[in-house]
Amino acid sequence: MQLNPSEISELIKSRIENFEQKVEARTEGTIVSLMDGIIRIHGLADAMQGEMIELPGDTFAMALNLERDSVGAVVLGSYGHLTEGDTAKCTGRILEVPIGNEMLGRVVDALGMPIDGKGPIDAKLTAPIEKIAPGVIERKSVDQPVQTGLKAIDAMVPVGRGQRELIIGDRQTGKTAVAIDAIINQANTGVKCIYVAIGQKASTVANIVRKLEEHGAMEHTTIVAAGASESAAMQFIAPYSGCTMGEYFRDRGQDALIIYDDLTKQAWAYRQVSLLLRRPPGREAYPGDVFYLHSRLLERASRVNAEYVEEFTKGEVKGKTGSLTALPIIETQDGDVSAFVPTNVISITDGQIFLETDLFNSGIRPAINAGLSVSRVGGAAQTTIIKKLGGGVRLALAQYRELAAFAQFASDLDDATRAQLELGERVTELMKQAQYSPLSIAEMGFSLFAANEGFLNDVDVKKVVEYEAAMLAYMKSNKADLIAQINETGDYNDEIAAAMKSALEDFKANGVY
């Protein structure tokens, strides 16, 4: 006979003793129809929009349509045990999820219930999943970086704390890989991470959890998973739940990073719910408020000023700003960024990282299209050294793209053009980076410096990747002081430039690759 840990007599005794049954007036209604997870309830005259409705069998529903004589609600979870005629009770509460440091290191569902088999979560606080984003007065502009550890992103499309940077691309272009690398790189930065998996295969989620554990990134991460087998309602609310968990850190003067993987599937889930609730369909059969669906979510990712944090924590945390950085992911179909949901989310976010199938297949990974990828606010948040050195790389790539068409006439070109082409090829090679191997600021700085100062010119294009690996290994073992210094301050001046130059010359003279 298997007993579970909560079945100890003492425990049961104390729970019975402490059990509190409050008698309160509640509004009741009757389920009149039940189909595809949508219930219609007769009665419940004073139900609120978004209110949790209690159903038999410890099941809850969320009220979405308030009509004159009925309430339309979506069942959160399974609805096999419900029948027409069952009673539904108002709870007087808007849907809430547990929040707090206890959530870190855990895998939870869209309601914040643990699904990782590590026992119950002892979270002391809960917060409603739908909240209004901080207003204008409470915000602060973005000026601190979120280091993703990916050269191509940190140098060309930097992300600041509190920014919303969209990751967009077709299937199988490495969108999730970029996001996971960003989480792994937060291990020693104090940035808490929330990864919201929407409509993904359970095996994919399990894989991500394992990878994060392998790289020691699970301790500062919460995973909110609403898998493909979960009801559409759960997939629809999962991003809001995750956002609420992230806001806990933002509001207490900490920094958090949230990844929505992906919002296309959330929009599909919402479309399903809306159509079943008989809301009128619009473009691509999405309901009229699909823009608001994403804008209200992404607006909650923000940087708040110290006064807001102080007021929120009632003076407990002073002089600290908080931030919630969002990396929403959108999957496009055949590169079509002008579809409804992609255009919406592009217009909401502060820039996008555009991943392309062609680049991915030609071995450029991360497959970032440097021309179409932009960051509208991240520039202000870059560390000095990356900002100074990254500019050259961006320019080299832009010129390379313009001239790339002439590359096949290489022999007939003048020297200047040929030099640009060659640099471009090398920089493209240099921007390649393996998965799960984020770089520190100093390492990135050395790579970019080598490209800017012409150290790559006498390296064969095919050897650039090896050159970089050998060079970084050399620097780590021989110039540890310089690396530590750069990593600490992120400064860049003539002195550092000279030190880097001499270090690279040393490597040129002594290094092997």
């Binding site: 049961i12 019975i16 049954q21 309160e24 007036a25 509004t27 009741e28 009770k89």
Partner: protein, 178 residues
């Protein structure tokens, strides 16, 4: 059920207005109750759903059944509802009419289900407490349901005050099962 409520509302409101103006709320109330009872009858509802009978025929039949219990206006209501094919929602019209009437008279009908028979003193106390809580006159109907084990359940409209032993045990079971 929901749709019936929506369909019944305009009829109920119109009937209430007429009855109120003519100060004939009681006579209309009785008429609607009679009509509902007849319409809900199994044989009658079979006839009313019979596609071979015309709409007018159905209305006339209903009027015949109730004979001179209906005055002219009430007969007109039956004809109108027959015309619109809405005779079957008569019980909903009655319910809504009574709701409107109770609201205007500031009255609430509350149902009390208890595990044991309530004493007169207990019902009086309940009526007084409910009066204070709901802010209107309360008419109580009491029933006994032994499955509650102890305590009472009070239903007034959509509002339920569940203070029964059964529901407390249920929620204790739920909280222990978590």
């Amino acid at each position: 059920m929901t749709d019936f409520t929506t369909a019944a509302r305009p009829y109920a409101n119109a009937v209430y207005d007429i009855a109120n103006q003519a100060s004939a709320l009681d006579s209309w109330g009785d008429a609607l109750t009679n009509l509902s009872t007849v319409v809900s009858d199994v044989q009658m509802s079979e006839l009313l759903n019979n596609p071979e009978m015309g709409k007018q025929q159905k209305g006339d039949m209903l009027i015949q059944v109730l004979g001179d219990k209906l005055d002219e206006q009430q007969q007109n209501l039956v004809r109108l509802m027959a015309e619109n094919g809405r005779l079957s929602i008569m019980p909903d019209v009655r319910d809504q009419f009574e709701v409107a009437r109770a609201k205007a008279e500031n009255k609430v009908e509350a149902e009390v289900v208890s595990a044991f028979e309530l004493t007169t003193q207990q019902t009086d106390e309940l009526v007084n407490t409910l009066k204070n809580k709901l802010g209107c006159d309360v008419t109580l109907t009491t029933t006994v349901d032994e499955s509650l084990i102890g305590g009472v359940v009070i239903k007034a409209g959509d509002t339920i005050i569940d203070a029964s032993m059964k529901s407390q045990l249920d929620s204790l079971a739920l909280s222990l099962g978590r």
